[in-house]
Symmetry: C2
Subunit: 345 residues, 2 copies
């Protein structure tokens, strides 16, 4: 038996911006190899062959640069956040019955539900290992932050499952916002707060970072919901959210203005995935079109972006303002085309 | 939005042996309340209303006492190990399709697969939170140990899923031992190693603790496999392992001596749970009886207990010898009756 306490591994002492994502990727692979063998190792390594957008490490890198941090100091935190994010994707795909992710079959689809549970668990467990071994002053706060933000993600998942039951038409909008606060925005705000802790920033800066990235998380999730219906998310087919009965932003926004259609939409959303057909999607598309729902949603998103840009913290922090502006552009890039295609015709 | 870094909580500075389990339970409930609200909080608290055998905290308490440690110092570690154990049970029940646990419906059975995934994730995430906040010198080593032993548990689950496919009859016995090393014995050895780290014990003592409790883990799992077929584990019905197609110790032990029956047993084990009937169980019972399989298994267990009692470390450590002896008795208590009932008649 190999001892459980054979644990030496090193972190790089410096890291160039252009090497940051490669280094995160290398550290993730090293962590997988260090902690697994056989089947588990092979499915874990295979999962990370398709990297996705790596938005969260990019956010961490860019934010660290804007705060004049040595990038090596935020590497373990970027590894933690990216592994956590992937753990939640694997379990989320299983919970939602999503069959495609990043243009490939999801873990449960390829290896079965049991192994998808195992792989997500494995990633949740190893997410903090590099962080535990690092020498940051803020290590304990970061580890604690990991437990709090991860708990909120799970809590968002729990609430979303309840929301999707559509047991009541009251308060849907607020319930939706509570869900995305947990499942999406807590990781956005948490990753920024983590960088602030590593920079040993003041309480005021920490609060502002948390707040700004929380808002960015909402913007990301709302564009993601719009993208699911009007775009191509490499998830096999359009309208996955409708098929899996998800109460998305498009739905809550529409029902906010057309509560009389609750029964109609709930009837479609409550159908089993295999029973939802093209006509259901076309009916919803028509309702949305007649009601200018996409326009309302994009206006709402616009308003959120303007609110974010007007954050009081930016008055004295133009560098962070510029950074957040560029991150907003990255976040909204996938739906710029949708906005052009669907609204200007 | 509540800030992600609102994190003050205190640990007790002393703890009496008779209060230890209550204190572990209280800390677990506090951690649940601190990290959740609404639905998640209610299903998490409800899960811990049925405590089970709390074997792992008992082991930690008894081992700490034998090493003259203040029990307060091992409380966070006991909380970590007990929450981790419960996380694995919740996901394991879902993976195996087990409907009853501790005389009650399992989480997936009561709340659905989605929420069982969420609850297990939540427990994995909060398992280390008390540990992160404690002031032990060995904290970093304990946190690292948590990631390593948890990874091994998941690895054992992955391998067990592969083993249960019964794709080959070669090496079943060794494959079985590898699985239980991961899924059961790594937590037993890890929890003991953790107590050794808290006691700042020598490398020699750490290695011995790890080895001794690893062996105890094997003894526990083998009795658990026997109990599933011949006893009452409060899991609704006898022979769950057979119904869910598990390659248990009874199976590998029988096939080791009767390889010609591989096809017959594999045929029954590969059946879906609902298709496995009373006659299948009776056939296996008859094969086992004709072949004195239970006697062989109990003899094997006896041999393992004797090997453990002869561990060289005990020569100079009678206190640990006495402790391990009493733990072996606790571990084997559920099958003493089986041994009496089935063999002496």
């Amino acid at each position: 038996m190999n001892s459980l306490i054979n644990s030496d591994f090193k972190h790089p002492s410096t890291c160039a911006p252009e090497d940051f994502l490669d280094e995160v990727s290398r550290m993730i692979n090293q962590s997988i190899i260090r902690n697994s063998d056989g089947k588990l190792r092979s499915i874990a390594l295979k999962h990370f062959e398709s990297k996705g957008k790596v938005l969260r490490p990019i956010f961490i890198r860019d934010l660290a640069l804007s705060m004049n941090l040595d990038l090596a100091s935020v590497l373990p935190w970027a590894v933690t956040c990216e592994i956590l994010h992937n753990a939640t994707l694997i379990h989320d795909d299983l919970q939602d019955g999503d069959e495609m992710r990043r243009g490939k079959p999801t873990t449960w689809k390829e290896y079965g539900a049991e192994q998808a549970i195992n792989l997500g668990d494995f990633f949740l467990i190893i997410a903090t290992q590099d962080l535990i071994k690092c020498s940051l002053n803020s290590k304990n706060e970061l580890l604690h932050l990991f437990t709090v933000m991860s708990s909120r993600i799970v809590s968002g998942q729990v609430d979303e499952f309840e929301l999707n039951k559509l047991q009541t038409k009251n308060n849907l909008y607020q319930q939706y916002l509570d869900c995305i606060a947990g499942k999406t925005s807590s990781l956005f705000s948490g990753l920024a707060l983590g960088v602030g802790l590593i920079a040993e920033a003041s309480k005021e800066v920490l609060n502002s970072l948390e707040d700004i990235f929380f808002q960015l998380g909402h913007i990301f999730q709302i564009q993601d919901d719009i993208l699911d219906f009007y775009g191509n998310k490499q998830r096999g087919s359009r309208g996955s959210d409708i098929k899996e009965g998800k109460v998305s932003f498009l739905i809550v926004n529409y029902l906010e203005r057309n509560p009389e259609d609750f029964g109609l939409l709930a009837g479609i959303l409550r159908k089993k995935r295999v029973d939802t057909n093209e006509n259901d999607l076309k009916l919803i598309e028509k309702l949305f079109k007649d009601n200018k729902n996409l326009e309302f949603c994009l206006d709402h998103l616009d308003q959120r972006v303007n609110d974010l840009r007007s954050h009081s913290f930016f008055v004295s922090n133009t560098e962070l303002y510029n950074l957040v502006n560029s991150l907003v552009e990255k976040v909204l890039a996938p739906i710029v085309e949708i906005s052009r295609l669907h609204l200007k015709v």
